[in-house]
Symmetry: C2
Amino acid sequence: MIKHALPVTRAQDFARWYQTVIAEADMAEESGVRGCMVIRPWGYGIWERIQRLLDDRIKATGHENCYFPLFIPLSYFEKEAEHVEGFAKEMAVVTHHRLKSVDGKLVVDPDAKLEEPLVVRPTSETVIGAAFSRWIQSWRDLPVLINQWANVVRWEMRTRMFLRTSEFLWQEGHTAHATEAEAREETLKMLEVYRAFAEDCLALPVVAGEKPENERFPGAVATYSIEAMMQDGKALQAGTSHFLGTTFSAAQNIRFQNADGGHELAQTTSWGVSTRMVGGVIMVHGDDDGLRVPPMIAPWQIVIVPMLRDAPEDAEVLAYAKALQADLAKLSALGEPVRALVDAKSAKAQVKRWGWVKKGAPIIVEVGARDVAGGNAAVIRRDRLYQESGKLASAIVPRDELVAEAAAMLEDIQTSLHADARARLEAGIRRGVTEFAQIEAHFAEGERYPGWVEVEWAKPTGAELDAVVERLKKLKLTVRNVPGDAAAADGVCIFTGAPAVERILVARAY
Amino acid sequence: MIKHALPVTRAQDFARWYQTVIAEADMAEESGVRGCMVIRPWGYGIWERIQRLLDDRIKATGHENCYFPLFIPLSYFEKEAEHVEGFAKEMAVVTHHRLKSVDGKLVVDPDAKLEEPLVVRPTSETVIGAAFSRWIQSWRDLPVLINQWANVVRWEMRTRMFLRTSEFLWQEGHTAHATEAEAREETLKMLEVYRAFAEDCLALPVVAGEKPENERFPGAVATYSIEAMMQDGKALQAGTSHFLGTTFSAAQNIRFQNADGGHELAQTTSWGVSTRMVGGVIMVHGDDDGLRVPPMIAPWQIVIVPMLRDAPEDAEVLAYAKALQADLAKLSALGEPVRALVDAKSAKAQVKRWGWVKKGAPIIVEVGARDVAGGNAAVIRRDRLYQESGKLASAIVPRDELVAEAAAMLEDIQTSLHADARARLEAGIRRGVTEFAQIEAHFAEGERYPGWVEVEWAKPTGAELDAVVERLKKLKLTVRNVPGDAAAADGVCIFTGAPAVERILVARAY
């Protein structure tokens, strides 16, 4: 039996496994500040890769980056009542602007109370809407296509690293258009950008589709999401795109003169993904030895560990490792130069190897004095860590062969991780469920959840929808979305027996 | 006489000219939130270029990026008394975590008061120090070399866009070392990274040196800065690097076991540059027609304006412009692919030309139907906008010649802007001043300040230094720094007549 690197396996306790991966891979840690985490270099490096690759795609679709204030005056929220109700009002509020010392103790200075409290942005529709109303006068000013990378704060009661933290990092796109058709097209275009990005770069298979009415973003006319399946079968909403209609333009007075001289409200959209995606990567690609990072978002794709022994050969081994790194860095894989590192830290080679296994570097290369003599290197592919016998799959290959094959190997790892996750997603969606009792039976199996269920419904609204939501809630289930690529409905609504109009995915979720 | 694009010149009113450039170049605007600005795409694009290029250099010197919480518990500041005193306690404080509706009005919920107020970070030494104390146990854990790109808030009473805003964007590097020598070396290494970055990338000539004792960062043992000279002769501190000794490690208990088994406090450093640099770029490279962006940090280096006339030839002109863009984008200049844009917006070509002049795109290319027929393009170099006659310097050249010469032209613009600014800096430093009366006379000349003065002093401390600071303050002057490359002192202190120990720069400053 394989003795894995982590003290807990996915099967034993998925939640504890998740926390353990984050700790053992040095990705993040509790900060001592309620609900806020410290993102350490390996975790932040993955986020930086996500930022770089997604930013390129956001810019390629014509969007420009801006930066808007962290603080939003309280009164801005009053303009959009539905929006603030939806946010449950759990926000961090700045009320004072000075500290003072009293008897050697530092306190908030009561004389420095702000005239108007400032809310730390939970999202920026209100403050960006105010800017849009200044920028947009004529149809010639449209569309306005902007994006912002920022930190936002939502006062969460139960937090979980990357998945739900009080402060998190994200990008939020905001656009304004002359017509509803254009704004709806933009909403779907960005949903597709997210879908393709998740699949191509994160190797994360997702289902893109519209959220049901009860799961809409506060103030939105339509909300779409990409949903990924974690290895415990739960769903993770990994990105959302909202068609906001004129909700915010009416509240913020974003009006323009159309070509005929008349005045209209602009049609707006917003869309975002956050550091939550890193949590998704962990729960989709991690295994019982730690994380496996898809090469496209790995801060280091190939880590070379020189086996140093405080011996005279060390200098030669280190030089050999560095020459190998230099040759690998000249390669291009997955559209970019290969990122190769020599880990020359003063620690035992064994400790370093398992450190990189837990971090999930796609390829780990070990070189010792014997390899130098033979012109070889020992190569470990993180996605195929063990032989069938349970022995570590470390292959001695000529170093020139490694250089010749490294780019293809990285591309293969990217593809393999995606294919494995795609197969799990497909296998994890149960179709053909037509009775509510089947749903109950399906999700009655205890700790590890048996994936998602696809059913047909009549797209209820109002009180009828509330009843469905309540019924599912008792099973800890939610409607994830209406998959955009699902077959047309051809049966009856599983909740009401009325003729069905579409298919939905029902699942437990993070 | 040239009729310039801006309604105000540098000579007329430098402060108003600065605000006008920012507005006319669409760089930033007031947000409606006190002291906070909206950074618009052209301004943010320049900041993104600064981030990308500086981040590469920070990483190349062995630092890794992390992310630490926005909020710092009040008690963290109490640990470091000197630090918080120095910050004048003007900070944004979060005291509540919920809003509620009362009679249809949104108010802060008094029941949601935090047990401990949270300060919005003005800088992160305290919270990063707390992390260091968890991470550092042994000499093997050292050095720790990290950096963070983040927003910070200091409650400023008088704000000025980019130069002094309540919220601003920056990077803050934080490192911990086993020995004082190593930490001092790091402090100077990062000062040199900033100096070289400012000169190479921003074309910003700077003087690197140590700040006097009274200008040290709160808690620092030594503070170094790079100082740039604005076109009004004032100094702008454009980056700082601090040797913190054991001030913060003592407060935060950052201890390590050394190789001999003993316990020591780590030696720490911190260093940062901010969006203030964008203000420096404006005040150094701007002219009476707007900004001139050095090509290395220009979001678009070459902007092609097709002269469209709502005529049948438009399609051909646009295709010609796009083919030219594609050829330019294949080039490499200043170490990167050339960034070329076709501005196909529906506005008059004249308006677009002057828009890009004001934004300061390094090269503006206009193509119309006649150019298509002749295979030509009209090229405007933003740094040489006018002929001697005062006519716009737009040169018709074969488009293939433009493609052949564009990379060299961009490199020449980068070099020329730097050389011009360097010449101004050199001419703007008056040396050989030995009497305080000369300083008084030098700075008595009214509105536009005559640069900086280099004098020798005896490096006073304590009350003696206070007296010098007061004396200078009456003339609105400060000691900027002790230039690292200045000649050795060989005279007497201009303030006390005692034998001088070093040379200092005295100037008015932002």
